[in-house]
């Protein structure tokens, strides 16, 4: 049958590309379980490289830095981004357009341009590069993603329920807390998760804004690629892969998260 043949072709085609996309990751994961010290030979399955992680203080420190920055940056970005969404929602169409277009520049711009622009800015105002500049940079590129995931929720708000709450004697603050906030909460949560993931994922902007003393994980791994990379990196990457997978599954079960990255281009 012609239909069967074309279905088989489609599946084969998809499979070949998926193999291309996953082969490097799968091989990396496999070698993380290698009993041997290098990638030259696979000598057997062991967890020795996972155990080695405990001694890799540089890597662990970088991981800790990454998590701290991602956590703080995503919290601040969520606050600023949500506030921005409320401001933008009330602007006139012209202003809304201008503000949104400018706010979204870091989302559309090449990372290297964003990173260098911030680095030069910090150099210009004489703030030494380090944790603080890295944090500002992360908040800066995270804000638009939060705004874009909260904004649709504000648009969908039913004004009447808020007014009804006021008519029933609620103060504006109480009405906001009881009526508005629960409605936009899914947008805020998915925005925050998105910001957290983007922070974890970032390399280029961190590379230019973190200076030489404060390293995030990706900056640390990048510096290791100059020499022979220990297989402990594979072990850590495997762990991160699993973590990202779990976050992805959680975010995917939250419908609001779906559109957040949609306006990227």
């Amino acid at each position: 049958m012609k239909n069967d043949k074309s279905l088989i072709f489609k599946i084969l085609y998809i499979a070949v590309i998926m193999i291309f996309l996953y082969a490097p990751i799968v091989v990396m994961i496999l070698y993380s379980f290698n009993a041997g010290a290098t990638r030259a030979k696979f000598t057997g399955i062991s967890l020795v490289h996972y155990a080695e992680l405990a001694d890799q203080s540089e890597l662990l420190n970088a991981l800790k830095n990454t998590l701290i920055v991602a956590l703080i940056a995503s919290v601040i970005a969520t606050l600023i981004g949500t506030y921005a969404a409320f401001v933008i929602a009330r602007l006139s169409p012209f202003r809304k357009n201008v503000v949104l277009k400018t706010l979204n520049i870091p989302m559309l711009n090449a990372d290297i341009v964003t990173g260098i622009s911030l680095m030069l800015f910090f150099v210009f105002v004489s703030i030494p590069l380090g944790f603080f500049t890295l944090l500002i940079a992360h908040v800066m590129f995270n804000v638009p993603y939060v705004t874009m995931s909260v904004l649709p929720k504000i648009r969908q708000l039913n004004k009447s329920t808020y007014e009804a709450a006021l008519d029933l004697g609620a103060s504006p603050a109480l009405a906001f807390r009881k009526v508005v906030f629960p409605e936009i909460l899914p947008g805020i949560i998915s925005g925050a998760l998105l910001a957290f993931t983007l922070s974890l994922d970032d390399f280029i902007i961190s590379y230019f804004t973190s200076g030489s003393d404060f390293m995030t994980l990706s900056v640390c791994i990048n510096s290791m690629t100059k020499k022979t990379i220990p297989l402990a990196v594979n072990a850590l990457s495997t762990i991160l892969f699993v973590v990202v997978f779990v976050i992805l599954v959680i975010v995917n079960f939250r419908p609001a998260g779906k559109k957040a990255r949609a306006d990227q281009a």
């Binding site: 590309i17 291309f20 800015f121 997978f245």
Partner: protein, 278 residues
């Protein structure tokens, strides 16, 4: 609420945007045309001239565009059919496979490139399969690295625009006697153009600007991203910002904005552009 308090509430947002988005971008221009020396600040067009006349820089610029162009074309050739086939599968298969496609996108870029590197370097499996022919250090390595890293970013917008197509339209075209090719050419392709345009932007811009992929996979190839990285970080002097780096970044920024406005012109209909779904 009065107008004034309303405006007051907006001011922090404007300050935020101006301070951390606009001013830093202006800084790139500032560092391209001003030299900050101990004896004062000097205006000069020397560094912009360098970007347009230096042979090494021009070659790097051309090379970057070339890699990006080839990679984008390959991504399109591989990715468009992939998006099309995916969209024709059953609902369950589709949602499973689109998550599978998304997963590598959320993996750290450096780790992904390192994973690719470890396939094609001295000890890599691919090198062993090829009988010692090492891809690392060749132009092909860069192209493979780019396609590998950015292909999902092209497939997803196209795939999203395909799944949005009204099934009735396709059926109507079939009822009117269109064969698979006609339906594709007359209905499916035109409706996916916005997705294609946003997919191309998502591949082309990072390919032009990346410095990680050439650095890891073929360190002999100087691209504009690598030149900038060198001026600012790996080759940086202790004296402060290299103005040549400022000028190079300025040119790159202009290049990125030109790319984006071209894509914007083609893709007027922003809203319908199929974006990425998470």
């Amino acid at each position: 609420m009065t107008r004034i308090t309303k405006t007051l509430k907006n001011i922090p947002l404007y300050v935020w945007i101006i301070l951390f988005t606009i001013v830093p971008l202006v800084m790139i221009f500032v560092y391209a045309v001003f030299e900050f020396r101990p004896d004062g600040v000097h205006f000069t067009l020397e560094h912009l001239k360098y970007v347009f006349t230096d042979k090494q820089v021009l070659q790097a610029e051309l090379r970057s565009l070339n890699y990006a162009f080839i990679s984008t074309v390959i991504c399109l050739l591989l990715g468009y059919p992939l998006a099309y086939f995916l969209s024709r599968l059953s609902e369950r298969m589709r949602s499973f496979l689109s998550i599978l496609l998304l997963l590598p996108m959320w993996m750290n870029f450096i780790i992904r490139t390192y994973a690719m590197l470890s396939l094609i370097d001295e000890e890599g499996i691919v090198t062993r399969i090829l009988g010692g022919t090492m891809l690392k250090g060749t132009d092909a390595a860069i192209i493979i690295g780019m396609v590998y890293n950015f292909l999902p970013f092209l497939v997803l917008p196209i795939y999203t625009s395909m799944t949005k197509i009204d099934k009735n339209l396709i059926e109507a075209a079939q009822d009117l006697g269109g064969n698979t090719f006609h339906v594709f050419k007359g209905v499916i392709f035109p409706l996916t153009v916005p997705g294609v345009v946003s997919g191309i932007t998502m591949v082309f811009v990072p390919c032009v600007t990346t410095f990680v992929i050439p650095q890891l996979l073929n360190n002999n190839a100087w691209t504009i991203g690598k030149l900038i990285e060198f001026k600012f970080i790996s080759g940086a002097s202790a004296e402060g910002v290299d103005p040549d780096g400022g000028a190079l970044s300025f040119i790159l920024m202009v290049l990125v904005f030109i790319c984006m406005s071209i894509f914007n012109l083609i893709d007027k209909d922003d809203e319908s552009a199929g974006g990425m779904t998470l």
